[in-house]
Symmetry: C2
Subunit: 420 residues, 2 copies
Amino acid sequence: MALNKKPVNGMKDILPEEMQIRDYVISVIKETYGKFGFTPMETPCMENIANLCSKQGGENEKLIFKVLKRGEKLNLETATTEDDVVDFGMRYDLTVPLVRYYSNHSNELPSPFKALQIGNVWRADRPQKGRYRQFMQCDIDILGEASNLAEIELILATTTTLGKLGFKNFEIRINDRRILKAMAAYSGFAEEDFDNIFIILDKMDKIGLEGVEAELVESGYNKDSVEKYLGLFKGMNESEDTLAFIEEKMTGFIEEDVKASFREIIESVKATKGDHFELVFDPTLVRGMSYYTGTIFEIAMPEFGGSCGGGGRYDKMVGRFTGKDVPACGFSIGFERIILILMENGFKVPNQSRKVAYLIEKGVAGEALCNVISEAQKARQDGTQVLVARMNKNKKFQKEQLTAEGYEEFREFYKEGLKN
Amino acid sequence: MALNKKPVNGMKDILPEEMQIRDYVISVIKETYGKFGFTPMETPCMENIANLCSKQGGENEKLIFKVLKRGEKLNLETATTEDDVVDFGMRYDLTVPLVRYYSNHSNELPSPFKALQIGNVWRADRPQKGRYRQFMQCDIDILGEASNLAEIELILATTTTLGKLGFKNFEIRINDRRILKAMAAYSGFAEEDFDNIFIILDKMDKIGLEGVEAELVESGYNKDSVEKYLGLFKGMNESEDTLAFIEEKMTGFIEEDVKASFREIIESVKATKGDHFELVFDPTLVRGMSYYTGTIFEIAMPEFGGSCGGGGRYDKMVGRFTGKDVPACGFSIGFERIILILMENGFKVPNQSRKVAYLIEKGVAGEALCNVISEAQKARQDGTQVLVARMNKNKKFQKEQLTAEGYEEFREFYKEGLKN
């Protein structure tokens, strides 16, 4: 029986052309984040299934690829639920594994710990165009830094990296879960309704103010509250300084030092950033993950409809592992989207070295062959990329192919000696 | 309930110190193999389970981490065997996925295709010291090159890379499955016994000539054949030129062009290699995988008991996917062993840039903070690695820690201004 040539459903093979771009982007990421003092680290791709199903991953927990138990531990006869037959699962993000890692090794790590993770994650989503069930994430996180220096450094590191990759005219949108909550509390909503209200608010981009208002009313929330809530957003839109407007309105609903710290993040980034992006306070920004406790942010690219990454503060997650909370804040780049945009824009990786192809006629053997190889080895030592290949019957076609691969120079070796 | 801080049983978290070395080794590998024209490529970490269980992986097929079916496809009630409940599996090597990839994309790939793969593989081995159930492999392969240029280039590329990583005094042992078979045929063994005889021969390193002889006799093979077989190895040990000895003895049992090609590989590599390793013909070299069809080779490091990598020619594997054979040859570096040896030797990654830590007193805020960050951004642009951190109460300890991390210079920022 012939075997199946296709990759598993919903996952993809990466061809050399894309791979070159991916490798280049990764090298720029490592180099730039390195300059900010972020340290690469890695965890296994699998986690204990209980860690993955602990309600920290939201909807992603429904999409876990689960790993079958092995040997004596597996008993299919008596098994009735998935829990009976699996022990591990593929990670669906890099945050849960990072927090486990930090909890396990905090004594061996610097404080604060500035982590850089680049790795694959898996989600058993319904396969669809441009969305894969294995994809790469690229996260930076700072653990053990309570002050807003974490947010400032994360935003600057991420935007500097995007700049190095040639991205410009993008926006970083920033908000704070505590501002979100204060606005809802100010409007008179009950705390147990906040999450649901934020889910509706999150649609502002798509359905506009009226749409959000209609959905809130439809959901049965108090009309006065809805009106007061929407009034805030309308007021902001009309005010010259959105942040100042909210700061004033929220007095009494939000702590003064939270306010001051949030303003300091915005002002510090604005004062020190390049002009390739804007930092924008966006009180409609929600971010899905329930683990966020403070600042949240998102990258919006003009080339791309949705978000190209994001992050925020999650001060309560280490405590789930250790019983003791540790301040934590992270920023994730949408690696696959970045690659997609670069590919669509016809991005070419800068040439690192001269590329020469040595084509050797079939009959060249023995000492003559040694001489060619020896020459190739010398050229490689001097920094040239040398492809040594047998000359095809259709040499013209072979050279066209190699030219397309970036070989700029050819040397041909014949039994009678070098020809050009 | 507190979550589990440990990685899954048998897999490991990689701490920053090791990660630095891994990243450095990967960059040297990519750069050096790149100079030989090898192109990075990648496949998903999962494969269809039927591809993994097709008898190409030998013993590894017993060690597959299998992935549970999802949704409607999973029916635990009626399931009686593992096949009923799984559809994918984690790859246990990079060769099966490479061949599937090549079969799927050969029209889009150059010919010959020189592939570089660096990626994790998984094997559900019994956990033991220094051996992990997720580990990295690093393979180069040439598909579509029938001539011995493939072997020569693979050996030179691999040994050049090892040299760049500082390895010396190692050996590349080389043999050919066809020489192995010719020697067994010459001795009068039946072809169906070859595999079993080679398994015993493979122990020569450990149990010596007498041990191999005893095991062969014990297994019930014809005593004359055993004597003739062992006579070959004794004869070689006494002869000055092992290869010439075998070439002469095997006349009639091996094709002349196979002989000539094998000799050419050895002579070409010897004539062009550096002096950091030796290439040695080793007629006792077997290599486990049954898919090898010709040349086989292995890296033997003095610092390490066992093999540190190996490979060979496997001309019949693409045909399993496409019905049409394509010549193929590969060389795999034992990545994890390389890392282990470097770690044990106290290897330090060469410093890429100056590392400076800016320590900021807690009270520094507003414009003063902006100034510090702005300065850090400028220094980073000029190539310096700058860590911006809040000053700890125990500043002395903090500086000691940072010094251990490689920070060579400190700048301290106080409310009253810069101190040093």
